[in-house]
């Protein structure tokens, strides 16, 4: 498996995508830090970029890479290697290269401009999102053979998680406002990885303005500390489950 990670890693680095990715993040973060004098505001803007942009980029990057390297995968699979190693090799190389890009593009500027501990929290959040959405990208690309269709589905998933979800939840709770909704809200917040990452960050940074509806009730229910650990646990689930399903599907796929 180490060999396979090595090949995929080399291939990804060579594709120059990752360099564009890093430079783009770097431009964003440097610009935001430079132009907004207020530290808190800069952090919030960066956080928004992480919440919206990173999932989208991870999914598109992951699935375009998968579709373009189907030949490589097929070539590897005719050799004496386990299918799982090929899957994990690809998954980890994709996620790790993006993580490096993310660290170089966003976390380093934060550290340079003395954001201290907050930059570490942002790194944790970003890393979770990268791993989670790379898993989703692979899952969907493995299930859908047609590239255009696959990417269409990915973008829909992203819109759902990153944009529509909070709105839908808010609408539901507004509509059912007469009922006790505390538990439903908690459950709703765990059903969206972007939401729960945001909640986790907010519990750490204590910026209640950014909570969103689900996040606010999450805090009320669990309190800051326990809430943080619960959200961490749920994020792990979001990371592991889609990737595991993707691996299973990959093991049974016909090439």
């Amino acid at each position: 498996m180490r060999k396979i990670i090595k090949y995929f890693f080399g291939d990804i680095i060579r594709s120059k995508w990752i360099i564009v990715y890093t430079v783009m993040l770097l431009v964003f973060s440097a610009g935001i830090i430079y132009f907004s004098r207020d530290e808190q505001k800069a952090l919030l803007s960066l956080l928004n970029i992480v919440m919206y942009l990173i999932p989208l980029l991870s999914m598109i990057f992951g699935s375009v890479y998968y579709y373009n390297s189907r030949e490589f995968i097929e070539m590897l699979l005719t050799q004496p290697v386990k299918r799982s190693s090929v899957f994990y090799g690809q998954y980890f190389s994709l996620a790790l290269t993006q993580m490096f890009g993310f660290i170089a593009g966003i976390v380093l500027p934060l550290l340079v401009f003395n954001f201290g501990l907050n930059s570490i929290f942002l790194m944790t959040a970003g890393t979770f999102l990268i791993f989670i959405f790379t898993g989703f990208a692979l899952l969907i690309s493995i299930l859908v053979n047609d590239k255009i269709k696959g990417i269409g589905i990915l973008i829909t998933v992203w819109l759902l998680f990153a944009v529509f979800y909070d709105g839908i939840v808010l609408f539901m709770f507004y509509y059912f406002a007469d009922y006790p909704l505390e538990k439903a809200t908690i459950i709703a917040s765990t059903l969206n990885p972007v939401d729960i990452t945001r909640t986790m960050m907010m519990l750490r940074l204590d910026i209640s303005a950014m909570f969103g509806y689900t996040g606010a009730s999450f805090k009320k229910y669990f309190g800051s500390k326990a809430g943080y650990y619960v959200s961490l646990f749920i994020l792990h689930m979001w990371m592991i489950i889609p990737a595991m399903i993707a691996r299973r599907k990959f093991n049974k796929k016909n090439f």
Binding site: S69, L77, T78, Q79, P80, V81
Partner: protein, 239 residues
């Protein structure tokens, strides 16, 4: 060497591969023939583990291959379309393949050199022509001296000289006691190369018999049989 029992694999509603029993022994060349979409490649890919059958067992050298990967150390495969990652150089494709397979003391570079591969080591595989890629994948298939060599339409896209070289190599390797499984549409090739002919149709084995040894003696009879098979089943013979 290879034994297939009650194999079943379906794609949608229209196609099912269905093989009750099939065995291939060493020191022989077996040719799979049949119209397009008759299941030849699916059968080969199931042996390689690229296609996962719904039912049935395939054993290679006595080992059930389901979920296994080590057995592929004794199989080399030359795919139909030679899909190599376009970004990799020829030498990288070779070194990756060597790196992944079990370590060997000596490699068989005969075909590799006859096909002029040493001259194009630095080229990216995306820059190679279809025929050159075929030659690369043929060279790779014979490089490891594995017991079983699976060739999916090896001569399609090769120039006459290269396909002659490849055929000579196939016969040579057969004498060393290896099993060569190939698919082809070219009738002459069957009589030139193979010891056994398996004719497939709609995912089933229609004819399984000894092939005809020489073109001169039995070529005519053999051609007639093949064209009859194609005609009977409503497929126009195009070779």
């Amino acid at each position: 060497m290879i034994r297939i029992e009650n194999l079943e694999k379906s794609y949608g509603k229209s196609f099912t591969l269905n093989v009750d029993r099939l065995e291939f022994g060493k020191g022989s060349v077996v040719t799979l023939m049949g119209p397009n979409g008759s299941g030849k490649t699916t059968l080969l890919k199931s042996i390689l583990g690229l296609v996962i059958p719904e039912k049935g067992t395939i054993t290679v050298n006595g080992e059930n291959i389901s979920g296994q990967c080590k057995y592929r150390n004794s199989i080399c495969y030359m795919p139909q379309s030679s899909p190599y990652p376009p970004n990799l150089k020829v030498k990288e494709i070779i070194s990756i393949t060597k790196d992944i397979r079990k370590k060997q003391d000596n490699y068989d570079y005969e075909l590799f050199e006859l096909f002029g591969m040493p001259n194009i080591l630095e080229k990216r595989s995306g820059a190679l022509s279809q025929g050159t890629r075929q030659r690369l994948s043929a060279s790779l298939a014979f490089m490891f001296g594995s017991d079983i060599i699976v060739l999916d339409e090896p001569t399609a896209g090769l120039d006459p000289y290269s396909s002659g070289v490849l055929k000579t190599k196939i016969l040579k390797v057969k004498k060393e006691g290896k099993l060569i499984l190939l698919t082809t549409h070219i009738v002459n090739e069957v009589s030139e190369l193979s010891d056994r002919l398996v004719f497939m149709l709609d995912g089933r084995i229609k004819v399984d018999r000894e092939a005809f040894r020489s073109v001169n003696e039995n070529g005519k009879e053999f051609r007639e049989m093949v064209s009859k098979l194609f005609k009977e089943n409503g497929v126009a013979q195009n070779n």
